[in-house]
């Protein structure tokens, strides 16, 4: 079978200004990830799992994407990140949520899959697990970009002025509405 690697870089109201960075970043993710799909090279025997982790890892390091470095901010101005990974031969999977100041949550998710009998870790326990397994705790707010700060400022201004803030409400019981923002 011909190996294939397919990626996405998020959906929503992506502005024209953000398109070039996303397209460049996705192509870079493919170029790094595809090396893991080619059999008999120096990196691997051709692993779909390695390929998706590597491709996502590239985009997590790229501030053009809403993941890892460049993640959207919560109302308190913090980046809380989450990820999941799954392989289709034995249906093994790993998931993490509410991590902070860790660059590659996708690799933490894979670590959960491969090193625990559990599937999903969250919050402080997930953070502790990551650090215990060698992931670097970056200085506080290291994942925050200027674009993310500006987006939160704009969100708060819109909220204060009563304008539509699309789905990103701070009330947990908000009704569904029809807008969208970039990117969920």
């Amino acid at each position: 079978m011909e190996p294939i690697l397919l990626v996405h870089g998020g959906a929503g109201n992506i502005t024209d200004a953000r398109c070039p960075g996303k397209l460049t970043g996705m192509k870079q993710a493919l170029r790094v990830g595809i090396k893991h799909l080619i059999p008999n090279n120096d990196l691997s025997e051709g692993s779909a799992l390695d390929a998706v982790e590597a491709a996502v890892g590239v985009m997590e390091s790229d501030g053009n994407f809403n993941a890892g470095y460049g993640a959207c901010l919560n109302f308190e101005g913090k980046a809380e990140v989450e990820a999941s990974i799954m392989e289709g031969s034995e249906l093994k999977a790993g998931c993490v949520t509410l991590l902070h100041d860790i660059m590659h949550p996708i690799s933490v998710a894979r670590c959960v899959m491969q090193n625990t009998k559990h599937t999903f870790l969250g919050g402080e326990a997930a953070q502790k697990f990551a650090l215990e397994h060698g992931f670097e705790q970056l200085p506080e707010n290291s994942l925050i970009t200027e674009d993310a700060r500006l987006a939160l400022e704009e969100f708060k201004e819109r909220q204060a002025s009563g304008l539509d803030t699309t789905f990103a409400r701070t009330e947990l019981d908000v009704k569904q509405d029809s807008g969208e923002q970039e990117p969920g």
Binding site: L6, V7, H8, S47, A55, V56, E82, C95, Q159, G184
Partner: protein, 141 residues
């Protein structure tokens, strides 16, 4: 949100998704991304999916699993399954999103109901990519 789906030469499929959520979210909010069957799914017998978009909508609709079910039980191709499930989600729940899919035969599905979705794939030494509906670009790997 970012995501990836791959199939290797042995037919093994994997999927991965990572996100920072949405701007202004409540501290402690969890979206679809870490939820299997919502943001991510992979099964060599059916295919692999990674989704993106409005998390509350996608998790309530179980978008990834809906796509898999259309492939498994309705015999749909990855493209048809992805397109139908995304449209049904938005028709039912209003919220928008998209997904990328590779089925067990190596066929691709790419669709979104949002304004835009960035996507790209590499196959046979060529990169295909796009971000707007109806526009696709190609270049050498």
């Amino acid at each position: 949100t970012v995501g990836a789906v791959a199939i290797d030469c042995n037919g093994n499929i994997a999927a991965a998704t990572s996100t920072g959520g949405i701007t202004g979210k409540v501290s402690g909010r969890i979206g679809d991304t870490p939820l299997l069957g919502c943001g991510t799914y992979a099964d060599n017998l059916q295919g692999g999916v990674s989704t993106t978009g409005h998390g509350e909508t996608i998790m309530r609709f179980n978008l990834a699993q809906k796509i898999m079910s259309k492939i498994r039980y309705e015999g749909k191709t990855a493209q048809i399954a992805t397109e139908e499930a995304c449209k049904e989600m938005t028709e039912r729940l209003t919220g928008t999103g998209g997904a990328i899919t590779i089925d067990a035969h190596g066929r691709l599905g790419i669709y979104w109901t949002s304004h835009r979705m960035g996507w790209a794939y590499v196959k046979n030494g060529e990169i295909f990519y796009g971000i707007d509906h109806g526009k696709q670009f190609k270049e050498q790997l």
